[in-house]
């Protein structure tokens, strides 16, 4: 066991998978000599050399396409987009080919690849460095989409993503890369993609979140317990596609009250799909309207006001109390 932050845990996952499987190849802008702008790939070049850890030119279309081709050949590419805000050129390749080659070739070319990218606000960054546009990927049939929330599940999910037979978009919550540490076992650990977890137990209310916002949600749940004596069950989605609705619809059937929290924009955001599943699966058990606390339908403002954009604990608590009092 080592006490690691998420950045180190992701690094550990890459180190171990590369050690174990010679077909794993890591590439992207500044991932080699520089070790990645967030140092997630630090040390990989020294250990595995230039053929397996590749600094690429500034070209996201080519990074995504390169990965797809390697995967079609049978290698295990792990590409990096420096920020989700620069992944849109690569999106074309992901939508047009990564998501479809298995389907188009009737199974001849499965695309087992990972595209990692840091997402989300809260690190005082420049424009285009703070968005949370997971729905672009989660909405695309043929892609899988995961978002870890702690060092340990980040490590396990990345290992699973690399081994997964399908293309996996791996969003890294950069705001909590180094926010806290967690015990991460040295021996290998995986987590099934498409499975959520219960991050806090409770029976009065269900709260659903993922990624960086999970932690504000947990904080709100603690305050609710302290101040109002109500116990919230908090579900951490981990995968947005496939979305594991069993756990949260079951929880909603028990509690009858639901609040969903994400930093993605409100309209057509993940909460919309989550609400739809709740209505389909637990409608007769609901005792209050489902609440969602989200980023606004504005462009993420520059950093002086990014905290005004993001859901904060107060906003989450208000929605939670509203759901409790209905």
């Amino acid at each position: 066991m080592a006490n690691l932050n998420m950045a180190d845990a992701l690094n550990l996952a890459l180190m171990q998978e590369m050690e174990k499987d010679g077909d794993v190849i890591v590439f992207g802008e500044d991932v080699g000599v520089d070790g990645g702008v967030f140092r997630i790939t630090d040390g990989l070049l020294d250990r595995f050399g230039e053929r397996r850890v590749i600094d690429t030119p500034v070209a996201e279309t080519a990074i995504a396409g390169f990965a797809i081709g390697m995967a079609a050949y049978g290698l295990k590419p792990v590409g990096e987009m420096q920020f989700t805000g620069f992944s849109y050129q690569g999106f074309h390749q992901m939508e047009s080919h990564a998501a479809r080659l298995r389907w188009r070739s009737r199974g001849r070319y499965p695309i087992s690849m990972v595209l990692r990218m840091p997402y989300g606000a809260g690190v005082h960054a420049l424009e285009h460095h703070s968005e949370s546009r997971e729905v672009y990927y989660a909405h695309t049939p043929g892609l899988k989409m995961v978002i870890p929330s702690t060092p340990r599940n980040a490590r396990a999910l990345l290992v699973s993503a690399i081994r997964d037979p399908d293309p996996v978009i791996f969003f890294e919550p950069k705001a909590i890369y180094r926010a806290f540490r967690e015990e991460v076992p040295e021996e290998e650990e995986t987590l099934p993609i498409g499975q959520s977890r219960t991050a806090r137990q409770g029976s009065d209310l269900t709260m659903i979140s993922y990624g960086a916002m999970l932690h504000r949600t947990l904080e709100a749940a603690e305050r609710l317990a302290d101040e109002d004596g109500a116990e919230a069950e908090v579900i951490d989605l981990l995968s947005l596609s496939p979305l594991d609705h069993e756990r949260f619809t079951q929880s909603a059937r028990n509690t009858g009250r639901v609040v969903i929290v994400h930093e993605a924009h409100r309209s057509y955001g993940p909460a919309g799909e989550i609400m739809a599943r709740l209505i389909e699966e637990s409608f007769y058990y609901l005792e209050a309207p489902i609440r969602r606390v989200t980023g606004f339908d504005t462009i993420v403002p520059m950093f002086a006001r990014e905290q005004d954009y993001l859901p904060d604990v107060e906003r989450i608590l208000e929605a939670t109390r509203a759901a409790m009092n209905d």
Binding site: D30, P57, V58, T61, Y88, H129, F296, T298, A304, Y309
Partner: protein, 362 residues
């Protein structure tokens, strides 16, 4: 059948006007009157000192991440000085010196770098586009803008800036091709500063020059000493004349050097030798211009000292003003501004709820 030669007339010229010591080849030198030259020098120096001050402010946590233009002042000011105010300026994200030449307020730049969208506001009568951060993404719309100036039969042209790294992006190639096919009046100014974050120029492309990429699109190109204001001015003047005469686009590859960090979030110690940076100090565009100006007796050491003092004062005042404005910019509901001409109802409702919470100290 034997293989035949396809005849291609391709070559790239390299232009430099001033040597390391500030001596100018009069035959090649563009005509710039003294007053303008001194104004160029002043803007370059202002840009340098502002960047230096911003590096300090960033370390103190008073502003956020930004990309210093240190080392590229000559390239940017030389280029903009060769154009008219009516011409259109399409920057990437490292064009502080060019922005200052165009009259962008240092106070606004400080506000922008402190994370306030207000700082990015462009005055109504300006022909400047805002900062564009996604690499090479400004190039396709720069070409559209140029098509517009041609369509309306103006004599305005467009200049757009980008880096060596940008030439690897698809956006660059698509924009170059459009510009050439539609003969749009645009100058593509590539600032080859040798680095794209940690990626050295030699690993960015196997092309011997970046300028030659233009040739593949049937576009003329010139490689120049980008730390030589005279060479930059002459090259942009030539490209602008062509464009204005309806002869279409041209690409200029300006060889320069990123003397500072990529951005303040970057640690060049990870990937480049200090010696390389030191070597380039000798080619510092400001020092070279000063050598020239002093040799020509247009500027004395004492005048430089006075100018330094004046600029230091200007930079301090700009920060004080920005700092004061930040205290006054206390209404975060502006995050809903300027999204649409008319805010749709659902967003008005989001804004109202947001303002309600502010009022109740939520």
């Amino acid at each position: 059948m034997p293989r035949k030669q396809v005849r291609l007339e391709h070559s790239v010229e390299y232009l430099s006007v001033m040597d390391k010591r500030g001596r100018v080849d009069e035959k090649l030198a563009p005509k710039i009157d003294n007053e303008r030259l001194l104004e160029m020098h002043r803007t370059m120096l202002l840009s340098r000192r502002l960047d230096e001050q911003m590096l300090i402010l960033q370390r103190q946590g008073r502003i956020g991440t930004f990309a210093p233009a240190i080392g590229q002042e000559g390239c940017q000011v030389g280029a903009m000085a060769a154009l008219s105010r009516r011409d259109w300026f399409v920057p990437a994200f490292r064009e502080t010196s060019a922005m200052l030449w165009r009259g962008f307020e240092p106070t606004n730049l400080l506000l922008y770098n402190a994370g306030y969208n207000e700082g990015g506001a462009i005055p109504e009568d300006s022909h400047d586009l805002p900062i564009a951060i996604p690499v090479a993404s400004q190039l396709p719309y720069a070409v559209g803008l140029a098509y517009g100036t041609d369509y309306r039969d103006t004599d305005e042209i467009v200049i757009t800036f980008f880096g060596d790294g940008a030439t690897s992006e698809g956006d660059f190639h698509e924009a170059m091709n459009f510009a050439s096919v539609f003969k749009t009046p645009i100058v593509f100014l590539c600032q080859n500063n040798h680095w794209a974050i940690s990626m050295p120029r030699r690993r960015q492309s196997e092309s011997k020059t970046l300028a030659q990429k233009a040739l593949a699109y049937g576009m003329p190109a010139l490689q120049i000493d980008g730390n030589d204001v005279f060479a930059v001015y002459a090259a942009v003047e030539e490209a602008a004349e062509r464009a204005r005469a309806g002869k279409g686009p041209m690409m200029i590859e300006a060889i320069t050097y990123r003397m500072s960090v990529h951005t303040t979030a970057d640690d060049p110690g990870k990937y480049r030798d200090e010696e390389e940076v030191e070597k380039w100090q000798e080619w510092d565009p400001i020092l070279r211009l000063q050598k020239y100006l002093k040799a020509k007796k247009h500027l004395t050491d004492q005048q430089i000292d006075e100018l330094e003092e004046e600029i230091a004062k200007q930079v301090n005042e700009a920060w004080e003003k920005a700092d004061k404005q930040m205290q006054e910019l206390d209404d975060p509901s502006v995050i809903f501004d300027h999204l649409y001409e008319q805010l749709p109802e659902y967003l008005k409702a989001q804004r109202q709820a947001f303002e309600q919470r502010l009022k109740h100290g939520g």
